[in-house]
Amino acid sequence: MISAHELDAVMLRRLAGRIRLRATEMVAIQGFGYLGQALSSAEIFAVLFGGAMRYGHDRFVLSPGHYVIALYAAAAEIGLIDPQALATYGKDGSDLEAIGSERTPLGDLVCGSLGQGLSGAVGFALAAELAGEDRDVFAFLSDGEMEEGQVWEAAMLAAHRRLGRLAVVIDANNSQVDGPIDSVTTLEPLADKWRAFGWRVAELDGHDIEALRRALAARHDGPEPFVIVARTQISGGLRAIPPTVDGHFIKLDAALRAAITLELEAAIA
C-alpha cells in the first residue's frame, strides 16, 4: 500500500501499474468488463490520487461512470477503501457497481449517464467561489462523452464564469462502444475546441507521468478553467492486448489475463 502524500515519478509509475493489475483482477471476476478504461487512464488516476489532488478537500468528479474501476483500484492502492472489497466488483449486492452510481463510496460526484459530470463540477466550483473557499475541483472526463452537447454547455459556462479552480482531465483514448471515435464522428481538433471555448489547454501524452504532473501543477497559471487533453491508448500500451480487442468492453479469458498480468508485473518489478 502506498501513502497518499506526493509520490515521486517512479512510485507514480508503479501506482499506475498497480491500478492496471487491480483492474485486471476485478474484470477477471466476470471475465469481461471495463478494463480498457483503467488501462488507458491508469497514469491519470495515479497522478490525481498520488498527490496532485487533496482528496477529501478538493472535489473530485468522475463523469464517465464506466471508469469507476480505475477509481476503485486507485482508492484501494492508497488506502481509501479496503483492497479486499475489490473482489466484490460488479457482483450482486456490492457497493462497487461496474458503472458508477450513488452507491459508489468514493468521490464527490460519480455519474453513470455520460456528459453530466462537468456540469456538476461547475456547480461545485460555483459553490466554492460563493463561499470563498480554497477548494479546487477536479473533473475526469472521457473523449467519447464529448459527443454529448451538455459537455459544451458546461464548458461555455465555466469559461464565462472564469472558474479558475476547475481542472478537467480528458482521457482521449479514441474509444467508444461502436469503435474508434473517429470512425463514428469527428471530435477533433479537440484541444482547439476547448481553447475556442475559452479554456487554458494542455495537450499531452496521457501515459507520461511527468507531463501530467507538470501540467496539473500549472493549472492556476491563469484565471480561466484548465483542461488537459490526455492522449492515451485504450490498451494502455500493453503488447499483450491484440489490436482487434473491443476496448470499451474487454473479454478477458484466462490466457489473456495471464499475458496481461505477466507484462504488468514485469513492468513494475
Binding site: 472535489r59 450513488e102 464527490d108 460526484l109 455519474c111 453513470g112 449517464s113 453530466q116 456540469s119 456538476g120 463540477a121 461547475v122 456547480g123 461545485f124 466550483a125 460555483l126 459553490a127 466554492a128 460563493l130 463561499a131 452537447g149 451538455q150 454547455e153 458546461a154 461555455m156 459556462l157 464565462h160 464564469r161
Partner: protein
C-alpha cells in the same frame, strides 16, 4: 374563499423567493434566459451574488444545480415547464432525483396557459416529474398558495417540481388559507355528496364554478383542492369518494399520468367502485391560442365539468348552463 372574477397579483413567487433567500443564505437562484418571465428579476436585482443565469442550456442548468446542492445549497431552478422537464429529463433523473438533492425545479406556463403552441405548452410535465422517485410535485391554485409553497418546499429536504402559472396570478383563497404538503383540502361539501371533484392549479376555479352550478341544480358536490400531486393525499380523496356516485378530476394537463391518474390509482387500489371522469387534455397536442380559446376547445371549461357530471350521474334532463363570469381587465375567471 373569494368569489370570481378573482383579483390578480404579479410576481408572488418571485417576491416570496427573495424573502426566503434573505432569511436563508444557502438559497441559490438559477435561470435560463427567462428572468423576468419567471419572476426572478426580483431575485437578480436584490440578491445578484446568488443569482446565476446559466443561459439557454437547461440540461447543464439541472446538473449544475445538482453540484450546488451537493455542496449544501438549496437551489431554485427557473424556466418554462416544457424546458425544465421535457428537455432535460435524464439530467433531472440522474443529477437530482436519484441522489435526492435539494433542488427545486420551477416550471412556468402549465398546460394550455401559453399562447406559444405545443413547444411552449407543458402538458405532460406533472406526469414526467411524478414518475421520478424522491420527487414532490406541487401545483398551487393561486397567489396565496404560491407564496406558501416557496417556504414549504424550501423546508422540505429533497427535489421538488413546482408548477406555476405565469403572469397575472389570481387570489382565490383568503389569507388564512394554509397549504399543507401532506393534505388535500375539502373546499366545498363533505362526505356523502353525490359528486366529488378533485382539482388542481388553474382548474380549481372551473371546479368551483361547476360545483356552484350543479348545487343550484340540486346535485350535492364536494370539491377537493389537490395542490400536492405527489405524494398524493389518497386518504382524503377516498374519504370523499367512498360515498359518492361519481368522481371527476380536473387538471390543466394531459389526462395521462397526472392528477386524474393519481386519483384513479388510489380508487382502484382501495377497490372503490365509483365511476371516474378525467377532465384534462385528452391525450393530444394542442395549438397556439389564447387561454380562453384553448380551454374551451380542449375541454377544460366549467361547462365540460358540468356536462361530465350530468352524464356521469345519468340525470335525465338537459345539463344546466354554467353561469358566465364576466372577465374584467386584470382579473381572472374560469373558462
Amino acid at each position: 374563499m373569494r368569489e370570481p372574477p378573482y383579483a390578480t397579483v404579479l410576481k408572488p413567487y418571485g417576491a416570496a423567493l427573495v424573502e426566503l433567500a434573505r432569511r436563508r443564505p444557502e438559497v441559490i437562484c438559477l435561470g435560463a434566459d427567462l428572468t423576468r418571465q419567471t419572476e426572478t428579476d426580483l431575485f437578480r436585482d436584490k440578491l445578484p451574488d446568488r443569482f446565476i443565469n446559466i443561459g439557454m442550456a437547461e440540461a447543464n442548468m439541472i446538473s449544475v444545480a445538482g453540484g450546488l446542492a451537493r455542496a449544501g445549497r438549496v437551489v431554485f431552478v427557473n424556466t418554462f415547464g416544457v424546458f425544465s422537464t421535457r428537455r432535460c429529463f435524464d439530467q433531472i433523473a440522474m443529477s437530482v432525483a436519484y441522489p435526492n438533492l435539494n433542488v427545486k425545479i420551477v416550471g412556468f406556463m402549465p398546460g394550455l396557459s401559453s399562447p406559444g403552441g405545443p413547444s411552449h405548452q407543458a402538458i405532460e410535465d406533472v406526469a414526467l416529474m411524478r414518475a421520478l422517485p424522491n420527487f414532490t410535485v406541487i401545483e398551487p391554485a393561486d397567489a396565496i398558495e404560491t407564496r406558501q409553497a416557496v417556504a414549504a418546499i424550501a423546508a422540505h429536504p429533497g427535489p421538488v417540481y413546482l408548477r406555476l402559472k405565469r403572469g397575472e396570478i389570481p387570489v382565490i383563497f383568503d389569507d388564512s388559507h394554509r397549504l399543507d404538503l401532506r393534505k388535500a383540502q375539502v373546499l366545498v361539501g363533505d362526505e356523502g355528496c353525490q359528486l366529488c371533484i378533485v382539482a388542481s392549479g388553474m382548474m380549481l376555479p372551473a371546479a368551483l364554478a361547476a360545483a356552484r352550478t350543479l348545487i343550484e341544480n340540486d346535485v350535492s358536490v364536494a370539491v377537493l383542492n389537490a395542490p400536492v400531486i405527489k405524494p398524493f393525499d389518497g386518504a382524503t380523496v377516498l374519504s370523499m369518494a367512498r360515498g359518492s356516485r361519481l368522481v371527476i378530476t380536473a387538471e390543466n394537463h394531459t389526462i395521462v399520468g397526472g392528477l386524474g391518474s393519481a386519483v384513479a390509482e388510489v380508487l382502484a387500489e382501495a377497490g372503490i367502485p365509483v365511476p371516474l371522469r378525467r377532465i384534462g387534455i385528452a391525450d393530444t397536442f394542442a395549438e397556439a391560442g389564447s387561454r380562453e380559446f384553448l380551454f374551451a376547445k380542449y375541454g377544460l371549461g366549467t361547462r365540460d365539468i358540468v356536462n361530465a357530471a350530468w352524464d356521469g350521474l345519468k340525470i335525465n334532463r338537459p345539463p344546466p348552463l354554467a353561469r358566465v363570469v364576466e372577465l374584467s381587465p386584470g382579473a381572472y375567471a374560469p373558462v
